[in-house]
């Protein structure tokens, strides 16, 4: 019997043990690292996003708020790390995404209604299923404009409404919103904000909202995620649990004002650092 004693052993460096988030976590982000032009934007970043909540992301300019949701939604590749949705990868997860620039988000070569139906067609749904779902969306959004028009024939608010309908069409598990109100006038912002809240109350879809308007961020949020300057880390996560539907009266509640004030303090502290 010949046997090599002390044969060289090849041992894989064990991957760090995956640490699941607390109960009710939807999206788990572990060890997320992203470099831009040689500089770290995110380094070993961990985050848990709760299920069925709206998380508003707020932070200093250039800290990568949009980059964060773009990495989670797979639009920007990550250098390393792991992002799981209920333990699944992005590939097995249905997501919706609403862009700030609605003009370049919808496809002008198709009618608005075909834009809304597009994600359903991508999923291989039958015509009857597509029609039923689109009709459902039209009802729940109380759409009064003609969806047979081309997107460029609609006003900005109508286009963004259509964008949100398209994002919600496949009943996404997570809805990402990248400054969805920034390009809209105040009236339209109010309208779409209320629609969004309505949809949320009805469907309890997990939402991640990037906003540069603190009032809006707090108003819609269950959690406010405050980020630091780059390399970005979590400055704080504030909870805000006023009951829904929230209304203009909410804006003058003590709890709202306190949360907004606290957020602003943290934000200012981070900007000054």
């Amino acid at each position: 019997m010949t046997q090599v004693i002390n044969a060289p052993m090849i041992v894989d460096v064990p991957r760090p043990h995956f640490r699941p988030g607390p109960l009710g976590t939807h999206i788990t982000i572990r060890g997320l690292t992203k470099y831009f032009a040689g500089w770290p934007l995110y380094e070993n970043f961990d985050l848990d996003i709760p299920k069925g909540k709206i998380v508003s992301i707020f932070g200093p300019n250039g800290c990568g708020k949009s980059t964060l949701i773009n990495m989670i939604s797979g639009l920007i590749p990550i250098d390393s790390g792991e992002i799981l949705f209920d333990g699944k990868s992005l590939k097995d997860t249905t997501i919706g995404y609403v862009f700030q620039n609605y003009r370049e988000a919808l496809f002008p070569w198709w009618r608005t209604i075909d834009n809304i139906a597009y994600p359903l067609k991508l999923m291989g749904k039958s015509k009857a299923e597509v029609d039923r779902r689109v009709e459902e969306l039209v009802d729940s959004f109380d759409v009064k404009f003609d969806l047979n028009r081309y997107p460029y024939e609609l006003s900005g608010g109508q286009q963004q409404t259509a964008s949100i309908m398209r994002a919600l069409a496949p009943n996404p598990e997570v809805l990402f919103l990248d400054e969805p109100f920034s390009a809209l006038d105040f009236e339209m912002t109010l309208f779409i904000r209320e629609k969004l809240q309505e949809v949320f109350i009805k469907t309890q879809t997990t939402m991640m909202l990037v906003s540069h308007d603190l009032e809006e961020a707090v108003y819609l949020a269950d959690q406010i995620l405050l980020l630091t300057k780059r390399p970005t880390s979590i400055a704080d996560i504030l909870s805000y649990d006023d009951p829904r539907p929230r209304t203009t009266a909410t804006l003058s509640e003590a709890s709202f004002i306190a949360t907004k004030k606290k957020s602003l303090e943290i934000f200012q502290r981070e900007v000054r650092k």
């Binding site: 988000a105 496809f107 070569w109």
Partner: protein, 278 residues
């Protein structure tokens, strides 16, 4: 006004986006209709006066009325009609082949940036080379046949089609691609549902320049020895025998052809790329 009845109970956000920009007052609109005619009328007037006062010899510049009569009678079944059709036929065949061969290649090159970068210089070089400089070369290869004229025009047009289609795909709005990607579209679906459409605007610019290019080269090629038909042939022939009326009429026919092609392509473009500029 509140018939729109949205919960914001304000009609403005839902107002018809197309209704904006009311028509200008009627009177100016009526006058404005005639503005495009001013240029041609002034041009013909100057032409007439120049001939009338003998500033240019009548043998070099015939009176406009004679020329226009020659043009109209020539095109209405007279000697110009056949050459007009021959030139149009050659231009369209050359253009058609250029599109069939060029569009798929351009779109394919545009969606593969590395492939495009590797042939970019060659395309740019030949695009910058005056296609007419290559006519003698093509004469060597194809002889003085019809095929020669079509081949050289096709080559010039093809380069423009390839370049503009590739350019259109490369400059597709990144956000539309991102939107399709985030909805779970595969590479193929992004290609056929976004990239091809996005490239159409630039492609049509290419198509329009390509058809003009094809016409230019066909007319030049028709002027070469051995040609027996076409507007280019007609122009050279009339010039050789000092039939200047016919020469001007043939030149104007070529102009009419070029202009008509451009207008036709603009109309097709507006129909197909209906979102352009909106």
């Amino acid at each position: 006004m509140s018939s729109e009845g949205v919960s914001t109970n304000a009609p403005t956000p839902w107002s018809d986006a197309r209704a904006e920009g009311a028509a200008p007052p009627r009177k100016t609109a009526d006058l404005a209709k005639f503005l495009p005619i001013v240029g041609p009328v002034v041009l013909v007037l100057i032409w007439d006066l120049v001939v009338r006062f003998g500033l240019i010899k009548a043998i070099l510049l015939p009176p406009p009325t004679d020329t226009i009569i020659t043009l109209i009678s020539g095109l209405l079944g007279g000697p110009l009609l056949f050459d007009f059709w021959v030139t149009l036929y050659r231009t369209l065949v050359a253009f058609g082949i250029a599109v069939v061969l060029g569009m798929p290649l351009g779109i394919a090159l545009g969606s593969n940036e590395r492939a495009y970068r590797s042939v970019e210089f060659v395309i740019d070089f030949f695009r910058s080379t005056p296609a007419s400089a290559l006519i003698p070369l093509f004469l060597l290869i194809f002889g003085t046949s019809d095929i020669n004229k079509i081949a050289i025009a096709c080559f010039g047009a093809w380069l423009l089609v390839v370049f503009n289609c590739a350019y259109g795909v490369i400059n597709a709005r990144k956000q539309r691609i991102a939107a399709a990607k985030v909805m779970g579209a595969s590479r193929w679906q992004i290609f056929k549902d976004v990239l091809v459409w996005e490239s159409l605007q630039a492609s049509f610019v290419g198509l329009r320049s390509a058809v003009s290019m094809a016409l230019v080269i066909v007319v030049v090629a028709e002027m070469f020895i051995g040609s027996e038909s076409g507007l280019g042939h007609k122009i050279i022939n009339a010039q050789q025998v000092m039939n200047t009326k016919m020469m001007y009429a043939a030149i104007m026919s070529a102009g009419i052809l070029g202009y008509a092609l451009n207008v036709a392509f603009l109309a097709i473009e507006r129909k197909i790329v209906h979102w352009s500029g909106r």
